[in-house]
Amino acid sequence: MSSETLSTILFLVIVAVTIGITYWAGRQTKSAADYYAGGRQFSGIQNGLAISGDYMSAASFLGISGAIALSGYDGFLYSIGFLVAWLVALLLVAELLRNSGRYTMADQLAYRMRQRPVRTAAATSTVVVSIFYLLAQMVGAGALVTLLLGIEGDWAIRFTIIVVGLLMIFYVVVGGMKGTTWVQIVKAVLLMTGTILITVLVLAKFHFNISDLLGAAADNTGKGEAFLQPGLKYGVSTTSQIDFLSLGLALVLGTAGLPHILIRFYTVPTSRDARTSVNWAIGLIGAFYLMTLVLGFGAAALLNTGADSKVATSGGNLASPLLAEEVGGGPGSNGGAILLAFIAAVAFATILAVVAGLTLTSASSVAHDIYANVVKKGTATEHDEVRVARIAAFFIGGVAIVLSIFAQDLNIAFLVALAFAVAASGNLPALVLNLFWKRFNTRGATWAIYGGLIVCVGLVFFSPTVSGPTGVFWTSVDFSWFPLANPGIVSIPAGFLFGILGTLTSREPEAEAAYTELEVRSLTGAGSEKAVVH
C-alpha cells in the first residue's frame, strides 16, 4: 500500500473520530457556559493539552523544523520566543483573567468600564486577529494537504480548503467549546506521540550523540559550522537584525493577548486549574520545540535540502514528513510509508484543531460581545446568545473558506506574525493596564486596542511585505516606506502609549472605583464564575 493511500485512510479515521466526539459534545452542550467555556469542567491537565493543541499550529509543527532544516540555527530562534511567551501568560494574565472574566477577552475589560465602546473595540480586535490567523492556516492547509496526499492542481487545493472549512464549521457549530477542546486534546496527544517517535528514531541514528547529529547536519548541507551559528537567515543586514528583534518582541508579548488562547483559561473550574493548565502547556510546548530542534537538524543531516529538493521547494514544510519516511526505512519501505502517513495525519489533525479554535473564538465574541451586550444591551437570553454564536460560526467559517480560496496563490504566512503583533500591541496593553493600573479607563482601553491595531496593520501595509519587489499584493508599485516586515518594535510601545494617553485625557470615577472589585476578584476568585453542575 502506498503512503498516500495510507494517509488518506488515516485522514478519514481522524475525520470520523472527531465527528463522533463533536456529536457527543454537542449533546452535552446546554447552557451558554457549556457552549462558550465547555462548562468550565476541564481539568488542568486536559486544558494544558488543549492549549498545546490550540497553539502548536502546522506552521510551528512543520514550519519550525523546516526552517531549521533550511536555515539552521536561525530557525530555532522562533521557537524560543513562542515558548518564553507563556511566562507572560502564566504570571500576568491566566489566573487573573479566569477570575475576572466570563466568556470572552472583552469581559475582563467590560467588568469595570463602559460596556459598549470597550466590547466593540475588543470584539473588533478579536475578530481581526482570529481571521488573520485563520486565513494563514487555511491557505497553508490547502497547499499542505494536497502535498501530503500527493494530489495536484488548483481544484485539489480548493477542494481541501472547502473540506477543512466545513469540518471546522461542524466542530464549532455542533460541539462548541467542549467539542473543540476534545479535538485539540486528541490532536495534542497525536502530535506529541508522532514527534517523540521520530525524535527517538533520529537520535538513534546518531547513537544519541547530539554533537554528531549537528556535525552531520553541518556537513550534509555543505554550509559547515555557519549552519549551527546564528545569522544565516537574519544576519544579512542591520535591517534584518532589527526586524528579528521586532518579531521576537511580538512573539513573546503576543501570545498572552491572542483571544483564542485567552478563552481557553475559562474552561477550567478555578484559577488554580488555570495555573496548572499553563504549567502543563509550558512543559508540553517546551518539550515539543526541543524535539523540533532534533527534527530540523535531523532533516538537514539525513535528507537532501538543496535548492531543488522537495524540502526546499515546499518551503521546509515537507522536512518532517520526509524525515519520518527516511527514519522509518526510507522511500519505498513499509516502515517509511507508515511513518510518513502517520506524520501527514498528525499535520492534518493539527490544522483542524487550530482552525476550529479560531472560528469558535470569533463566533463567541460576535455573539457575546456584539449581539448580546452591544446590540441587545444584556437582555438577550442564553438560548438566543448561543443560537447567534452558532450562526456566526457558520458565517465566519463561510467567509474564511471564500477568502482562502481567493488567497490560495498568495503567500500570506505573514498574517500569523501580524496576528501576534496586533495581539501584543493592542490586546496585551489593554489587559495588563486594566489589571494593574487603577486609573485605567474606557478611553484608555479603546485607544490602546484601536491604536495598536491600526499602527500594526498600517505599518505592515507600508512594509516591503505588501508592496515593492518582495510584495505579496503589489509588485509593480512600491509604497513601502517602512523598512521592517514586523511592526512590533514600534507598535507595541505605541499601544501602551495610546492606553496611557487615553486614560490621562479622560476621567471615569466609576472605572476607578470598580478597580477594587476587579482587584479583589482577580486575586482571590471571590465571586468568579463557577463550573456548571449538570
Binding site: S31, A33, Y73, F76, L77, I80, G81, L83, V84, L91, L92, R102, Y103, D107, A110, R112, Q115, I210, S211, L214, G215, A218, L228, Q229, P230, G231, Y234, Q241, F244, L245, G248, V252, S271, R272, R275, T276, N279, I282, G283, G286, Y289, N373, K377, G378, A380, T381, E382, A514, E517, E519, V520, R521, L523, T524, G525, A526, G527, K530, V532, V533
Partner: protein, 126 residues
Amino acid sequence: MTSATSDRGGGNGGVHQRSDHPIYAELQSTPEFAELRAKFQRFVFPATVVFMVWYLLYVVMSMWAHDFMSEKVVGHVNVALVFGILQFVSTFLIAWLYGRYMNTNADPLARKLAQRYDDEVRSVNR
C-alpha cells in the same frame, strides 16, 4: 445546573459587570488581602523583569554577538545552542517555581478570602 449569573453580588442580569457590592471594599481592606497582593507582586514583578531581560539579551546576542555565540563548547555544540537551551531551562524553572510559590504562599489566603465572600454574599442571595 446552576447558572453562572445568579450567584453574583449585584445581580444585574446577563451583563458581566461590577456588582458594586460593599463586600469587595471590605475584603480589600483586610490584612490578609494586603498580604496576598504583596506576595503575588513580590514574585510576579521581579520574575517578569528577569525573564524579559534574559530573553532580550538572548535575541540581541543572537543578532549582534555572532563571534561569541559561535564559540564552541563541546564538539559541534556552540554557545548559541547552549544559550538557547538555557532559555528553555529558565522558562521551565520559573514556571515550576511560580506554581510552588503560589501554592504555598498565595492560595491559602485567596481561599480564605473567597470563602468569606461566599459566606456573606451567597448565603444572602440564596
